[in-house]
């Protein structure tokens, strides 16, 4: 994860950034313009709350980025690269983990017949996601994230299916959590095409476990990068 270094260059950027937001709050002209765009007083309250959050976060002694940005998904993906590159590399890391997981499950010999066929198919689809995301990062001019070394607990079929469902539900939520931050319409289209397949995988695994295919009801919930990365951390061994 992000090393705990205080990079002076980042710190400068941080200050400029904070001051720009402060200017936005203090300067009546730009503030008015901002609020007109934001559409009213609700935004004014949000801006105040947001600035307050920034202020309290500033005293944090953790990484330089988290000091400026409280619980921001975009912040957590920025460790993977700038803008869309960071988001795609974040997704790539998750897809690498899923691919490795299904590969291990197939090799474990815990499943046979139609269950094995389903697991194999899901694994192949994750592998296609890896290829597509790798190509997307390159097209954006970035360097694809490295394949993480992963290890998964594979004890018995039921616990493996449960883990698979957890991973897929989390993966679907992770894509949903990034959709609003993606800038390129093409990347957004690709992410959506993958997002719904993760949703299908999740629903199928939930159903196989006798659980609801739609645990969040009519509206799927997003997950931010911090939550997702924290959840997959136990499976990354290097």
């Amino acid at each position: 994860m992000t090393p705990e270094i205080h990079d002076p260059a980042t710190e400068t950027e941080e200050r400029q950034h904070t001051s720009a937001l402060s200017r936005l709050a203090a300067d009546p002209v730009s503030r008015k313009r901002f609020l007109t765009m934001a559409g009213g007083t609700g935004a004014a309250a949000t801006l105040s709350a947001f600035l307050a959050a920034c202020g309290s976060g500033g005293s944090s002694s953790t990484t330089s980025t988290t000091a400026t940005m409280p619980a921001s998904a975009a912040n957590d993906v920025s460790q993977f690269g700038k803008g869309d590159i960071g988001i795609v590399n974040y997704a790539l890391t998750l897809e690498y983990l899923e691919t490795a997981f299904y590969g291990d499950v197939v090799n474990s010999g815990l499943f046979k017949g139609s269950s094995l066929a389903t697991i194999k198919q899901f694994g192949e689809e994750e592998s296609e996601h890896v290829q597509a995301l790798t190509a997307a990062v390159k097209k954006l001019g970035g360097k694809p994230a490295p394949k993480p070394k992963a290890k998964f607990p594979l004890k018995d079929p039921n616990s493996v299916l449960k883990l698979a469902a957890t991973v897929e539900n989390l993966g679907a939520a992770a894509y949903l959590g990034q959709a609003g931050a993606i800038r390129s319409p093409e990347i957004l289209a690709s992410a959506l095409a993958i997002h719904t397949v993760e949703g299908r995988h999740a629903a199928a695994l939930n159903t196989l476990l006798g659980e609801s295919p739609t645990p969040d009801g009519a509206f799927a919930k997003p997950a931010d990068a911090a939550t997702v990365l924290n959840a997959v951390k136990p499976f990354i061994v290097g």
């Binding site: 765009m37 559409g39 198919q121 949903l176 093409e186 289209a189 009801g217």
Partner: protein, 209 residues
């Protein structure tokens, strides 16, 4: 089923997307500022906060038509066809979701200053469980492709977030229906996206008015 009560918690959640729009946008703006330098923040915020244009309202109304169609389909299936108890339970679950989607989209359209379309007249050619599953699969797969095709054109970040929350559920429906029909829940690594015209062509046979 008390529809008002069962719908309100989910509707409240959709409202959260709307009321927290400022936070959502600011988060994106902040990231853009940090990553691209401050010059990029203002145009990004301006673009993201642009009021839902006719474009977004059109997309929402298009989605609303599809959700109306799906809701009517599942309702009819429960009333007019003999379904196994598992299939019936799934049809009921999905119908509840489609009703909630209808309510949420209607609210979003009104919130954006638009006029929601009315429910279309419908007719569905099925008479048994397998016919139901086949049509359901078509509707859900088409629904996924319709949302995925329309989403990149959505201008408002909160409309996009809501569409994303809905399309994932449509995909989950598609997978559950496909499993019930003995089909692969996720036949492709990438869900196709469909243009509006192709979607309308696909659902045209079921719309009477």
């Amino acid at each position: 089923m008390n529809s008002t009560e069962s719908q309100s918690p989910e509707l409240a959640e959709v409202e959260v997307h709307g009321t927290s729009r400022g936070a959502f946008i600011l988060r994106g703006a902040l990231a853009a500022g940090a990553l691209y330098g401050l010059g990029s923040v203002t145009p990004f915020v301006g673009q993201a906060l642009a009021k839902s244009s006719g474009g977004d309202i059109d997309i929402l109304n298009f989605a609303l038509t599809l959700e109306y169609l799906e809701a009517a389909f599942y309702k009819e299936a429960q009333q007019q066809v003999k379904l196994s108890s598992d299939t019936k339970a799934l049809a009921k679950l999905i119908q509840g979701h489609e009703d909630e989607h209808v309510a949420a989209l209607t609210m979003a359209i009104k919130g954006a200053g638009g006029k929601p379309v009315t429910a279309p007249g419908v007719s569905f050619p099925f008479s048994d469980e397998s016919g139901f599953l086949k049509l359901a699969q078509t509707f859900e797969d088409t629904g996924v492709s319709a949302y995925n095709g329309a989403a990149p054109a959505i201008k408002s970040v909160d409309v996009l977030a809501s569409a994303g929350a809905i399309v994932q559920v449509e995909a989950r429906h598609a997978a559950a229906i496909r499993l019930m029909a003995g089909e692969s829940p996720a036949p492709d690594a990438f869900d196709k996206s469909l243009e509006k015209d192709a979607v309308l062509k696909a659902v045209q046979p079921f719309i009477k008015s």
